[in-house]
């Protein structure tokens, strides 16, 4: 069973107070929980949040499943998201993503065997001028080439 840490619990409680409607705290709370649950949201998490926040599970699930930044299945320690929308695609982002998958011997949206990486092709990340780019967890890496991207991934501990 998933349980928020004390710190996380205070954070969620604080978010509940922060906005005028209680429901507004769902997204921040899901962020907190996702961080504590190794980067993804399981039904357990939603059940726990529902109890902590006193909001119906179906409502939290609706929000959770609507937004792309909440992961529906476990992801690697480094979640590599390669933007593949138009501007990036024009500059070879799809080939970049394919290259990373090939190098790490993994299919898109799947975790590598050692659990370190998940490569996803995602929609526009708002870094079109510096295409192609990728986001590794919270950080943007821009103006990539297949080689430089692979070097960055290799350099991650």
């Amino acid at each position: 069973m998933f349980q928020l840490s004390n710190e996380g619990l205070t954070k969620v409680k604080k978010e509940l107070q922060r906005y005028e409607s209680k429901d507004s705290a769902i997204i921040p709370a899901l962020y907190v929980a996702q961080k504590e649950n190794k980067g993804w949201i399981s039904p357990d998490v939603i059940h726990h949040l529902s109890q902590v926040m006193d909001i119906a599970e179906s409502k939290i699930t609706e929000v959770f499943s609507f937004y792309t930044m909440f992961n529906k299945k476990p992801v690697g320690k480094y979640h590599v998201q390669v933007c593949c929308t138009l501007s990036c695609a024009l500059n070879g982002a799809r080939e970049l993503a394919d290259h990373l998958c090939h190098e790490l011997k993994v299919r898109a949206e799947e975790m590598t065997e050692d659990g370190r990486f998940t490569i996803s092709k995602v929609e526009c990340l708002g870094s079109c001028g510096t295409a192609p780019m990728m986001q590794v967890n919270d950080r943007y890496y821009e103006n990539l080439t297949p080689e430089s991207a692979m070097n960055i991934l290799r350099g991650l501990k």
């Binding site: 997204i27 921040p28 962020y31 079109c128 001028g129």
Partner: protein
């Protein structure tokens, strides 16, 4: 040459901080504005002819005057959910000059007499969120936010809300839904947000660039602002240039600036050996222009509308002649299929249908009538839904098919791309 009304100091590293911002005259406009009446500010903005920079281009002053004339609490929301493919100007503005945005927001909030505002930033923008959060703290400490700002008796609270990855939250009512903690599905209009928005209270939603542009308007007056740009599209605008150009990036130019100058002078032109094939002038939702049209186009609301396209968010995506238009349309339809919120049937089913048709053309299963079907489906998605995403998905399809029909027909007949000469399977392993 660029005309830097907003982005003049963006190259300075300390412009992020309150100290650096103040060094360049920051928050003096706020002091000036607080001495005016709110009606004066609205009038000034109206007179400046400032139009919304988020995409629709609705006159900002007019929007503000839709608020009911009563004492009901009202909200100002800053739309920083920049999701339109090709657009990255708001990110730059929040990263380089968060205080400019905050100052603009306080002035706007004063103009509409709102006591609470939110900056809704898309969740992927971790860096901007961090920077704006820090700037907010600084502003609170310096007394630009909170109770009795600069002794004027005006109170204002500002907070940040981070989205979680949904293009549709860039639509104003979708953003309001998201801010209320629901799925980011747009709301039925009427009632319009200015009457019933966030928590059913009157709400004004403006883009980052619009709110920031309020600062120079109040600083130098509407007349000075109107000197830039054209008669009907006054002022300057940040254009996000991306795609197959040598120097992609954000460029601030007055509206009415020729598109070819933007591409060739500021953007450094095409990469060696490549020729211009097409330009999407206003973010991925804008109908595409072919090379001939791009030569003539000027970047203002009227000219582009006349050419059947739109200025949108000012994201200029340049495509050179090595690109297969069928493949690119496939990329766009995939995007809209992925981002449709699933509320209205024509959009929910139509975006998926469009994507499937384009995919089957690319995978060699296409029929010639599929090309007409694309047009028919797109036509029937237009104007039939709550928000404009359906139109946004339909317009590129219509323009791509209209202007590059030969490539589609070639793909259907030969099973491979006319430009690249290879099949879909060879393009993507």
């Amino acid at each position: 040459m660029e005309t830097k009304l907003l982005s003049e100091h963006y190259h300075q590293d300390d412009f992020q901080n309150l100290a650096g911002y103040k060094k360049q005259g920051g928050y003096q406009v706020l002091a000036k504005a607080l001495k005016m009446t709110s009606q004066q500010i609205i009038d000034e903005v109206k007179a400046s002819g400032l139009r919304g920079r988020g995409g629709a281009g609705f006159p900002t002053g007019t929007k503000w005057s839709f608020l009911p004339k009563n004492n009901e609490p009202r909200y100002l929301l800053c739309n920083a959910d920049e999701g339109e493919p090709g657009t990255f100007k708001d990110r730059l503005m929040m990263e380089r000059a968060p205080h400019q945005l905050i100052e603009g927001m306080i002035i706007s909030a004063f103009a509409i007499q709102s006591a609470k505002s939110y900056v809704y930033i898309r969740g992927e923008y971790n860096e901007p969120i961090r920077i704006v959060e820090k700037a907010l703290r600084e502003a609170y400490e310096a007394g630009f936010l909170g109770k009795n700002i600069l002794g004027s008796g005006f109170n204002h609270e500002m907070d940040i809300y981070a989205g979680a990855g949904a293009y549709i939250c860039g639509e104003e009512t979708g953003m309001i839904s998201s801010l209320e903690g629901l799925k980011g599905q747009p709301k039925l209009k009427p009632p319009f947000p200015a009457v019933q928005g966030y928590l059913r209270k009157p709400t004004i939603v403006n883009n980052v660039e619009t709110l920031a542009a309020v600062v120079p308007i109040i600083k130098d007056g509407a007349a000075a602002y109107k000197k830039f740009g054209t008669e009907k599209s006054p002022g300057t605008k940040l254009f996000s240039l991306s795609g197959n150009v040598v120097r992609p990036g954000n460029y601030e130019v007055p509206l009415g600036y020729p598109l070819k100058d933007l591409i060739y002078k500021l953007g450094g032109g095409m990469k060696p050996g490549k020729k211009l094939k097409a330009v999407i002038p206003g973010g991925s939702s804008a109908p595409v222009l072919n090379a001939i049209e791009a030569e003539r186009a000027t970047m203002d609301y009227e000219c582009l509308a006349q050419m059947g396209s739109m200025l949108g968010s000012g994201a200029v995506i340049v495509l050179d002649d090595s690109n297969c238009m069928v493949d690119m349309l496939g990329n766009l339809t995939h995007f809209y299929h992925h981002e449709s919120c699933g509320q209205c049937t024509p959009c929910r089913e139509g975006t998926g249908w469009l994507n499937k048709i384009v995919s089957s053309i690319m995978e060699g299963r296409g029929r010639l009538q599929d090309i007409d079907l694309l047009v028919k489906v797109a036509d029937n998605m237009k104007g039939r839904t709550i928000c404009a995403l359906s139109d946004a998905a339909a317009l590129p399809v219509l323009s791509f098919v209209q202007k590059f029909r030969d490539e589609f027909e070639y793909f259907v007949r030969e099973g491979r791309s006319k430009v690249r000469g290879i099949s879909y399977a060879q393009m993507h392993h």
